[in-house]
Symmetry: C3
Subunit: 311 residues, 3 copies
């Protein structure tokens, strides 16, 4: 690896170079082995303090980050749900940031419903900032673990054909993956109902289609996005049943894909909505491997960020 | 101690042999001393990760487990109340279990309102599973700490006469104690209103009575069960006052018992319902000793389970 | 330093001698440097267990204590909000205290809405008790960090003129500061609407005024108290606007003070109510320094208390 990591924040994959992304993936490889040991712990971040600020509820991503932090021996403080709102009661993000800074925190992992909030936070603190999902903007560690899994299973990313199916408009997972995958030379296709495909998306260098068969027939990997009814302000499709009829990956629709296609999902799965039960648990599925790789990827990101100095 | 511990789960005392129970009690003895030291910590489970899943609210049992885990130097993650329900929102127990497994967790401590849930969990994960209370089935670590306390105070368990008073039908504490105590040669009596005495209980090798005097006159130890009004679907007795009139242990009713009888309670006490204030705080009471011994017993269980391989 | 620390509790500054307060401030100085290191952690309290009991909601004070505990390598358990109320459901403070004691806890940090509760707790436990705020009585660690900051910036406390502005009647911050500052030879002035100035306060050896100009004209430091509308049972002033018109520190009112006056606030600030934005962020403001010093002061208190034996 020729380059050295310099950044002290990870706000999104849009900002990273191909070489920086490759360095994270390479670093994650060496961290993956730690969680296989009997003693799953290294002293890498001993005496560092990390604050986890989850303004949006999250069990999986937060657990994954916290576990990564503990296995790196960091001291951690987590705020989520109601306790996070009390943090900001009567004070601005700027005040909150400065107060955290005054406690001599080394890194902040932040999830927020507003796109761009992690970037704003970097302007107020010297602590490193890691974006754990912001609005409909980016979810960089999810995309990195997806790419890590792709590379682990397919041996490369360059030239791979990767398809995302679902609500592309509202998906920070899709957006981060598109930034990362295209930088590394993969070909991305997005597929979903017309109402869920933003107009700008074609400008990101991806193929856009609402024909499921076309979307998956040459794919090396398919990521199903979680259909989140609760996030919709207005109904984007008549019913879950209709969505499933047209876009669900199941035994019948998977026939159009290559036999060794990887089935991916950021979780939690709506079983039998976007993905049929038997396919979720089939040999094509690498969904649980993604969970395992999430740990290694986040350990790598925290390790690199902790040594970074540049914004 | 002739035998070696092999199990990787502790689901209930029904499954354990006399020798396995004795091994846990013996191991707990050596762990008890740790919490008396100025430095209350050993590196036994360093680098192991334990997840505490409390689907039923619990402060005492959860605190006891968490403290045991910390004093063994494990890394821990705890989910309870609302955060636990969000874990399983939209996913099955099986999905949850597999996701935890993918995070390379070593042990899971689980409390759940459904009897048999910890056993089901063992079918989905390689991690060790410790039952912290399941429905009306078992609460094995509570029974183990009760037996540890009995042995500590009386020098033996074989031949002791132990009486349980209260809602036997709904008591996982009583059930686990009956399994354990009878295996170790104690004589168990259960006592309560007829509506609270299940028909099957006599088949477990215990004496059943609703005469308080008869139940306690020869007892070496009396365990009062917490009367849990909130758990009853239908009223099992006309009123708390009537229950207390007939079954409360107080200065008057304790006259029927031996002078050195031990008064035990799994906590929290409904003071002056099942147990009068002055008796709870008397020299006969070993209730706070039970709390202290709970720590040592759970440290022993976690230590043994962490080295087990067989299901 | 001639004296040795002997106390095992810190209930309030009313109880402490001048020498004890000076010892805490001196000890805090040596702890401040730890949070500036790359490895922000010392093994001072390794193997000690601290329970944080926050019956009143708190993010800042609790975070500060928890971080201090982690940087001293203690094992910690925290209960707050709803989980704290479940602790005491159906049991008395006395029962709760004894149960905590049975778990072999070394120290308890407690915040409670009832004045005097930490003192009561000391009567039931051998563990050290640190008051993190009780009703309208005391908040000793806040006053200690305020004094630490004063001494750090002004080189001394004796002879300083310190003014508190706001709801003095309901302020445990003001009360603890008055006890501490007067013992160390500072001159304290309190200022606020007549309805917020308790009659007894003059007996504490402070100057009382409701003339802002008079209150601040000779002050070396001004502490603005948070106006807490939610705590008032009845309205003490017609409106926030009227309060701000008369007592707000802003560019105009600060003209009456000395150029090098320190602006202090226990946080969180109601920006543009008790304190104008530009002054909060000016060079006079040491508000973020107070947050940093809170960590060092609490580390010092926990360290000293952990070695104390006398009540």
């Amino acid at each position: 690896m020729a380059i050295k990591w310099k950044r002290k924040d990870l706000v999104g994959l849009k900002d990273l170079s191909k070489e920086e992304i490759e360095l994270i993936l390479e670093t994650a490889k060496s961290f993956k082995e730690i969680s296989e040991r009997p003693v799953k712990k290294v002293p890498t971040l001993q005496g560092k303090t990390i604050v986890n600020l989850f303004f949006e509820p999250s069990t999986r991503t937060r657990s994954s980050f916290e576990l990564a932090e503990k296995r790196l021996s960091a001291d951690i403080m987590s705020f989520s749900g109601t306790s996070t709102s009390s943090i900001v009661k009567g004070e601005t993000i700027k005040d909150m940031a400065r107060n955290i800074e005054a406690l001599k925190i080394d890194m902040i992992v932040v999830r927020h419903g507003a796109s761009g909030m992690p970037h704003r936070l970097t302007q107020f603190v010297n602590a490193g900032v890691v974006n754990a999902g912001d609005g409909i903007n980016e979810h960089p560690t999810q995309a990195l673990l997806d790419m890590f899994t792709l590379k682990e299973k397919k041996g490369r990313i360059e030239g791979l054909k990767v398809t995302f199916i679902g609500d592309i408009s509202h998906s920070r997972v899709a957006r981060s993956n598109i930034w990362g995958l295209t930088k590394l030379g993969a070909h991305v296709t997005v597929c979903g109902p017309a109402t869920m495909l933003p107009v700008e998306i074609a400008k990101m260098g991806v193929r856009v289609t609402n024909d499921l068969k076309e979307a998956i027939s040459e794919a090396d990997a398919i990521t199903l996005l979680r259909i989140q009814l609760e996030r919709q302000d207005e109904p984007l499709f008549p019913s879950l049943r209709e969505y499933a009829n047209t876009f669900q990956i199941n035994k019948d629709t998977l026939k159009y894909a290559k036999p060794d296609v990887l089935i991916m999902h950021p979780g939690p799965i709506n079983r039998n909505v976007e993905l049929a039960d038997d396919i979720a648990d089939s040999d094509n599925s690498v969904i649980l491997r993604q969970v395992t790789n999430g740990l290694a990827t986040r350990m790598a990101v925290l390790y690199l960020i902790s040594g970074g100095t540049e914004r």
